[in-house]
Amino acid sequence: MSPYLEVEDLRVGFSTEDGLVQAVDGVNFSVDKGRTLAVVGESGSGKSVSSAAIMGLHNRKQATITGSIRLDGEELVTASDRRLRELRGKRMAMIFQDPLSSLHPFYRIGNQLVEAIRVHRDVSRSDARARVIDMLRKVGIPNAERRVDEFPHQLSGGMRQRVMIAMALINDPELIIADEPTTALDVTVQAQILELLGSLQEEFGTAIILITHDLGVVAETADDVAVMYAGRVVERGSVRDIFYRPQMPYTWGLLSSLPRLTDDRTARLAPIPGQPPSLINLPGGCVFQPRCEYWRNVPDDRCKTERPALDEVAEGHSIRCFLTDEQRQRFGEARVERQLQRSSAPLAGVTVVEEDA
């Protein structure tokens, strides 16, 4: 059986005065019901643009979208606006980053949620309202029957994000895209929100795409990870593949740049040198080549002239890289060695539980 959501060779381009911005350039991933896929990458790597494309939120006059997005087998790229509207908020829903600005400041939260129900279901206002109060309670809002009539600004940040989650869940969607759902929140609230998402997923069997740049969040919640760079997926695998057996220089860099609890506090972070490329007129080779310290190990300047494909290196683990298995093994071990010299502690805030596979 094919996965619940399957994204294949997705490309999203925006034409601007400076030229075509290829924000997403060949993205492949999939997620099944009850599973969580984390999409990680720097700002501008195309995470949010991909998710907006899945939801059909791009203005088709401004964005050129090609490739394939299949939701439960149904093609969304070529679907009509009307069909997308029917699916949005009903079978797939989205949780946004900043709950304060994502809720309408002039409407009571109850009314905003009631509207979300009634656009898809022919139910009375009072029935919808009862369901809203139910859902608010479910996402852990105390005094839901009173809170339902408050305005967003009267709630705390964590409560507002719970409202957003309630709004996303209100029509029992099978897919939820959470776009940096905890970035605007306190660390303590972050944990609560992630826990809530996890337990709701267990209850409803929802497929979740979690967009984040926080590897700590990934380690805690994800089943699978797609690492994005410059509009494409450069490494994809299970959460254990990514954290214990990363195979691609960019992922190595990401993991190395995390601070560790036992690091010498005066030591500087280890960032990846250079800047992400401009998405206008990308060079023809590997997008990461300009910042990669290993490209000279590949013969004939291949990294500069040829785009690596997303190839499987192990069961369910794919990368875009020209380095040979033997080279990756060697460089990977050297990286771990280097890291161990800095400290022997686990990554700060990252705990990956080894389970019996």
Partner: protein, 329 residues
């Protein structure tokens, strides 16, 4: 909310008192003896002196102001003995030149200005907001450019020019209607309505230009808001996203602007009324200046100020109704 309104009203009254003192002092400094206006060519020094006494101009300034203030609150009686006349509260003074109480003059002129202003307001809000919304939704397309160009024209030409152009084409060139002479509603409702058509269009053109730009920019700001994306993510139709979610917040500043603009117009639409011969407040204001009619000037200026101050209060209250985040107090 209740205490807030009381506080604001008290502040408003204090502001008006201060303003009336300033206006009173300022106008006393103007050249021309108001008492001399009462008799015109038949003036002799004795008559002028007599009138000065009759109208209270022989008293010191502070006493004059006290009498004026008392007149506003309780009414006053001019003169003494047999040659007296009543000026009931709120008495804003007596116009020698016209031989009438200022309050009565305003009472007959204000409804005309009110009909003129409110009619124009409705017209410019409907056209301005519609054009603005269309321009925002069609940003960069020809509709937007036409709207921008039209607004620029509306902006650039002064009211009297637009008024005169309208007069020339509608009345003299194409003879669509006769030159409107103001007719009271009771005499002939149709003629009454006709006399307002051109003033409405003139004012609406000028203001709609501004309001279409304001609406367009507000809508563009609002359409970029995160909560608009949320509305789309819910699966709402584009019509509902724009008609409900975007308009509600996009139109808030327009309420403010409209309130203040209406108050300004109510204080007297000087040029438009002059061009179209409407006997409203604007004409009264202009007349008072040309005729050096001090009491009339004082009265009309104070009235205009009252409108502006009151409109500010009303707009602030409206804002709290529209935007739940605004807390008064």
């Amino acid at each position: 909310m209740g205490t807030y309104i009381i506080r604001r009203v008290i502040a408003m009254i204090l502001m008006l008192v201060a303003l009336s003192i300033i206006v009173f002092l300022l106008f006393q400094g103007l050249p021309g003896n108001p008492a001399a206006l009462t008799c015109g060519k038949s003036c002799t020094p004795q008559v002028i002196k007599q009138n000065e006494i009759r109208l209270g101009y022989d008293k010191p300034l502070y006493e004059q102001y006290a009498m004026f203030a008392k007149g506003v609150v309780a009414g006053r009686t001019y003169g003494s003995g047999t040659a007296t006349f009543e000026c009931p509260a709120p008495c804003l003074g007596y116009s020698f030149f016209r031989g009438e109480n200022v309050t009565d003059l305003i009472k007959s002129a204000l409804p005309i200005t009110a009909v003129e202003s409110v009619g124009a307001l409705i017209l410019w809000l409907v056209t301005g907001v519609t054009v603005g919304v269309i321009a925002a939704l069609r940003r960069g397309k020809w509709q937007d450019r036409v709207a921008t160009g039209g607004a620029l024209i509306g902006y650039s030409f002064p009211t009297f020019f637009i008024g005169l152009v309208l007069l020339y084409f509608v009345i003299f060139k194409f003879k669509i209607m006769a030159y409107p002479a103001y007719t009271p509603f009771a005499d002939d409702p149709v003629a009454w309505l006709k006399s307002f058509i051109l003033p409405w269009i003139t004012l609406a053109l000028v203001f709609a230009a501004f309001y279409s730009r304001l609406t367009r920019n507000q809508m563009l700001d609002t359409l970029g808001e995160d909560y608009i994306r949320t509305a789309r993510a819910k699966g709402l139709s584009e019509r509902r996203v724009i008609g409900k979610h975007a308009l509600r917040s996009g139109l808030t500043p327009i309420v403010t602007a409209a309130g203040i603009d209406l108050a300004t117009l109510l204080g007297g639409v000087v040029i438009t009324e002059q061009v179209f011969g409407l006997p409203g407040l604007g004409r009264l204001v202009l007349g008072s200046v040309l005729e050096s009619d001090l009491p009339l000037m004082t009265g009309t200026v104070l009235l205009a100020a009252t409108f502006i101050i009151a409109a500010n209060l009303i707009v602030d209250l409206l804002y709290a109704v529209i935007d739940p985040r605004v807390r008064l107090g």
